[in-house]
Amino acid sequence: MEGAVRTVRGSNMTLAQRAWNIRRKALLMGEVQGQGYIGQALGIADVLAASYFHALEYRAEDPEWEGRDRFLLSIGHYAIALYAVLMEAGILPEEELETYGMDDSRMPMSGMASYTPGMEITGGSLGHGLGIAVGMALGLKRKKNPALVYNLMSDGELGEGSTWEAAMSGAHHKLNNLICLVDFNNQQADGKSTEMLCSEPLEAKWEAFGWHCQRVDGNDLNAVVAAFDKARAVSEPKPRVIIFDTRMCKGVPFLESREITHFVRVEADEWSKALAVLEEGKPQ
């Protein structure tokens, strides 16, 4: 049986079904606001499914459990995607879905630690997550806590100098408990990331900075799962990075084909269309 349809631990659901559920929840939240970072959420859904239903250790009923793997959302605007997976994982109650981005909601548009159970840090000012991850990884080592720190960041954040300060630091301190996940969807606010400040050749850069680096198709669940397994199995005392090439709006073809997808404008009548299209692709 292929990894993509492997049965997720503790349930009969496959990772593909989990990813589909994450996409659906994200679309429903997007519909609440009528707009949002839905392209990123659809694109990263497979990576999040593999994170929360294959790789991470956590206790849904106790999001601050000391033994949990830490999952840092450096890209605060991807909160819509993280809320979806936190609901799917049972950390956030699903009935809060319709409060997304509303007054008094625990789910603001940009993720903040003080608002949401399971949100480890306040991201959003880009280039912050990896440095905080370095500190947490050092702290876990001080405590002899074997948990891992995952930091999810974007290709656009590779332009921030602080990312590379943190990358050097992670390697310098031999942080083998740190795994960085880079969503490479080649989109940022003003256009293609590679046309703003090209970070290529990216694998060579991370390797030169002293990291174990993999680059895989982030919408191929088999490849994503294999990359997580490999990253965790590295025996060298160095931090690990997985670059996921993803497709913005993955799963909703008519949105995938839109030129500018950083902040997707979806007409009121298109949400139901998007949900219907997603429904057609529902994994069995």
Binding site: T122, H128, G131, I132, V134, G135, M136, E165, A166, S169
Partner: protein
């Protein structure tokens, strides 16, 4: 664009009156006072022996922030982050998230200007107990604007949750270290390093730093100086000089800039009959003087009021004594100005 060098006279090398630029690691001179060596480093070691949560981090400035004292005694609890201030404070935030109390050191210019967004979002917004301890505050180096943190207090005063300390001397520094560690939130403190004068206990033998409290160091009926940082040193010395001219000067020391001890300030300034003068080693914009002025005005207390502060300019390079005279924060100039206002 006019360049400064076009207006500058070329000094004669034989001019015996000119002083060399003091090295930036030089201690702050204060004539007539005993000094304590590296009070911050030693206080941190004492504290860390009692509290396992204390860790120290620096961005290539351990020797110039006295953190090397801690690093030498407890190398296992010291993190050298390299010349990377953004990851310095982010890493401190991460360690705080894991239950530690990090003391992160650098120069005040680098914390306030280069690392600000990281301090704001990774530390202050989440109210994490990171203590940022910074050398070369205000005009304590002759290296020019690249190293002179003349606006750091204004920058950090605007940041919610941040407690801000501007210590006067070795007594303040030794006293504050355990107290800020206990405070459950972020702290920015200015630091005097190297051989640091012990001033406050000489003027007031029972003086003890108290977080959040302003304290009268000297009573007087003609003038009330409200001061912070090493300007309290200047104020006390100026007060002695003015006493010889029969001017009776009180000095209220305000080492905690935020939250400001408005109660004590209002009580003292409200007594009436005294000229109130604020004195700070900081630009006149957004520091102690403006904070006190706002406190007085919004509470209907309106004494005669003057500010001693650095001008709203990028300051000159040169020898510190020359610069302190030039910008009128030396003892001579403080005494002279106060006399002129009476």
């Amino acid at each position: 664009m006019a360049r400064k060098y076009e207006q500058r006279r070329v000094p004669r090398i034989t001019d015996g009156e000119r002083m060399a630029t003091s090295a930036m690691i030089a201690s702050l001179a204060a004539e007539g006072y005993d000094t304590v060596n590296a009070p911050f480093g030693h206080a941190l070691v004492d504290l860390a022996k009692k509290d396992d949560r204390i860790v120290g981090l620096t961005a290539d400035l351990s020797k110039y922030t006295d953190l090397h004292v801690f690093a030498n005694v407890m190398p296992d609890r010291f993190y050298q982050m390299g010349m990377a201030e953004q990851v310095l404070v982010s890493t401190a935030a991460g360690l705080a998230r894991e239950g530690f109390i990090p003391f992160a050191t650098t120069y005040a210019v680098f914390a306030s200007r280069r690392a600000y967004d990281f301090i704001a979002m990774a530390i202050a917004e989440e109210n994490l107990p990171v203590k940022i301890i910074c050398a070369l505050p205000g005009l304590t180096t002759g290296y020019g604007p690249s190293h002179q943190a003349t606006e750091d207090l204004a920058i950090f005063r605007g940041l919610p949750n941040m407690t801000i300390i501007d210590p006067c001397d070795a007594d303040d520094i030794a006293g504050m270290v355990p107290q800020i560690a206990t405070h459950d939130g972020p702290v920015y403190s200015r630091l005097l390093r190297g051989k640091v004068p012990s001033v406050l206990t000489r003027h007031k033998p029972d003086y003890k730093f108290q977080l959040g409290k302003a304290q009268m160091i000297r009573e007087g009926k003609d003038v009330l100086i409200i001061s912070s940082g090493f300007m309290t040193m200047r104020a006390l010395d100026a007060a002695e000089r003015l006493a010889a001219d029969n001017v009776d000067v009180a000095v209220l020391h305000v080492p905690t800039i935020k939250p400001l001890d408005t109660e004590t300030i209002l009580a003292e300034a409200g007594k009436g009959g005294r000229l109130v003068v604020t004195a700070e080693n900081h630009t006149e914009v957004g520091g102690l003087g403006e904070a006190v002025a706002r406190t007085l005005l919004t509470n209907g207390v309106a004494p005669s009021f003057r500010m001693i502060a650095l001008p709203d300019e990028f300051l000159e390079a040169g020898a510190l004594p020359t610069l302190h005279d030039m910008y009128e924060i030396s003892v001579d100039k403080v005494a002279e100005r106060i006399k002129g206002w009476l």
